[in-house]
């Protein structure tokens, strides 16, 4: 049955309002990043202004953002790869051997407030002289990524029929061989999903880097605060910095939309 035309009109209008309210603030942020601070303060120049890239020059040169972009990329990449190496086999075991309690322990990491772990971490890692280094940042971000990888991959392995592995065993492969040559190649979409989600969550993570990084290793979400002074805020610079942090991840999400959505909704419909 086709919906009534009145509903169709209502639906188009309602969805237009939704899209506008979700995108307008982001576009406003990007627009402000191309304005001078004088134009930002002039409400008459909300939409009509002469664009400038000065804010970006400031962000990338004076504020040293090229280095922070590198830090964020390196931490997110390393945490993702390490989480996949640890998480994919673990998720496989947990799925195939139905290790519910072990899975629960890993998922606890998703529930617990990060602050409650930061004091002990800070103590241990400062004794190891690791605070401020990349190692501790990567490890702390893995704490976010690994549960995500395990959660997504468990759901994926649950949905892979076991018969394929059994057939491989009959053909003379070992269990490990079947995992490596049959299951892993079939899991590429799942691994891509887990990897992309893990990268996004690590890139966006703020609290761990706030405590555990120093001036040389800080990631982009921490570096944003360089533009917030006690007395005043450099709005143009701040919006350019915010744009530099968010737009790359939004562009990536645009290209791999299918994976991001399946990762975010993983396990939600199993009931």
């Amino acid at each position: 049955m086709k919906p009534r035309p009145a509903y169709q009109v209502f639906r188009v209008v309602a969805l237009a309002v939704v899209v506008l309210s979700l995108l307008a603030p982001l576009l406003w942020m990007i627009a402000a990043s191309f304005k001078t601070n004088v134009d930002i303060y002039d409400t008459g120049k909300a939409l009509v202004f002469s664009p400038t890239v000065d804010n970006y020059a400031k962000v990338l040169q004076q504020a040293n953002y090229v280095e922070f972009i590198g830090n964020s990329l390196w931490v997110a990449f390393a945490a993702t790869v390490a989480s996949l190496i640890l998480g994919v086999p673990a998720a496989y075991s947990m799925s195939r051997f139905n290790m519910k309690k072990s899975a629960l322990v890993v998922l606890m990491a998703r529930v617990i407030p990060g602050v409650s772990l930061l004091v002990p971490w800070f103590y241990v890692f400062s004794n190891l002289k690791m605070v401020g280094g990349f190692g501790v940042l990567i490890v702390s971000h893995m704490f976010v990524s690994l549960p995500l990888v395990v959660y997504i991959m468990m759901g994926y392995f649950d949905s892979l029929p076991e018969e394929l592995e059994e057939a491989a065993l009959v053909d003379g492969l070992t269990h490990i061989g079947a995992f490596r040559r049959i299951t892993l190649p079939l899991s590429v979409p799942g691994i891509a999903t887990a990897g992309i989600l893990s990268f996004i969550f690590s890139w966006n993570n703020f609290m761990f880097a706030l405590v555990l990084s120093d001036a040389d290793t800080k990631t982009l979400p921490v570096a944003i605060f360089d533009f917030v002074g006690y007395a005043s805020i450099d709005w143009g610079g701040l919006m350019a910095a915010a744009t530099v942090v968010t737009v790359p991840i939004m562009v990536i999400a645009l290209f791999v939309q299918k994976y991001v959505v399946s990762g975010l909704t993983a396990g939600a419909t199993k009931g």
Binding site: V18, V105, V115, A241, T246
Partner: protein
């Protein structure tokens, strides 16, 4: 899942006779060999620190993490639980933030998911728009809204001006700051609820809908008595996932109001309070107490939700 077959007889697999012993050993012990590294990692970073936090909550540790501290028993708990100046208001704000944000996110999320349910032209673009707030860095989102809600130069007051409404203080107001941060949370995370519910709706079978339609059920009746009950498990997952994250909200609060949730602690939730105690005041003992209580609240809320869910499934 049919996992019994593999666990019962791992040796029955016809591995080639010339397989070296260690390969067979690795295969026989693959369950724990696969799981152990990840489990060890999480245990080392979770169980041990959590136990330590539990211990610290019983001491007067402060100043430096290396400083001597004394065991004070449940004194911190007595102090914190009778603290009506910072602790209980923070509990109240955490609860208000979570409940109100969740309420809006679920209602709006459900409405938007229903709008998107049936395929239409341009669907792809709406889905892209829905994804954008979700993947945006929360700290940057906080900064973005900070500009939009600026009382003097912000877009929000300009828009209100078009409708003849006077300027609002938004984040700067003592009573409007918390609602404004809730708004930001709703903006960023309603899409999450939409995506989860949409996945749930798409997986529903058409038949109950058809049957209800033939029986002459109205659109509302079909939603209330057919779609909603069938969607209940998915809805619970959405509430659970979103609720846990809402309780723990930190980034947007810190980005918009700074340390301590603003000069009057307007948006100081338990997480923000505990962070301040730990890293601004170095009151490790008290902060650990707050964190243990916070953790118990989260577990309690989760338990209540999952218990309800199991009941609903019965």
């Amino acid at each position: 899942m049919a996992t019994i077959t593999t666990t019962k007889a791992p040796d029955s697999a016809p591995t080639a006779p010339e397989t070296p012993g260690w390969v067979r050993w690795v295969n026989d012990h693959r369950k724990w060999l696969f799981a152990a590294p990840a489990m060890t990692f999480v245990a080392a970073l979770l169980v041990f620190p959590l136990a330590w936090t539990g211990y610290l909550s019983l001491t007067d540790a402060e100043g430096s993490v290396r400083a001597e501290s004394e065991f004070v028993g449940i004194q911190n708990y007595l102090d914190v639980l009778t603290d009506t100046e910072r602790f209980w208001p923070a509990v109240g704000r955490t609860a208000a933030f979570t409940v109100v944000a969740l309420l809006f996110e679920v209602v709006l999320g459900m409405a938007i998911a229903l709008l998107l349910w049936r395929p239409f032209k341009g669907e792809r673009w709406v889905r892209v728009a829905i994804l954008m707030p979700l993947v945006a860095t929360p700290v940057a989102v906080g900064m973005m809204w900070r500009l939009i809600f600026d009382p003097n130069i912000g877009l929000a007051n300009q828009v209100l001006g078009w409708f003849g409404i006077g300027p609002q203080p938004w984040l700067a107001g003592q009573h409007s700051a918390l609602p404004t941060t809730i708004f930001i949370d709703v903006w960023q995370w309603t899409p999450m609820v939409v995506l989860i519910l949409l996945a749930g709706l798409t997986s529903l079978s058409e038949e109950p809908q058809e049957a209800a339609r033939i029986d002459g059920a109205s659109t509302w009746q079909r939603f209330r008595h057919v779609t909603l009950p069938l969607l209940m498990p998915t809805l619970t997952v959405a509430i659970l996932l979103r609720g846990i994250d809402a309780l723990k909200t930190f980034d947007i609060l810190y980005a918009t109001k700074g340390r301590g949730g603003g000069s009057f602690h307007e948006v100081e939730t338990l997480n923000v309070y505990a962070y301040g105690l730990s890293f601004d005041y170095n009151e490790y003992g008290v902060s650990s107490t707050v964190l243990i209580l916070f953790f118990l609240i989260i577990i309690g809320a989760m338990w209540a939700l999952t218990a309800r869910r199991k009941e609903a499934q019965r």
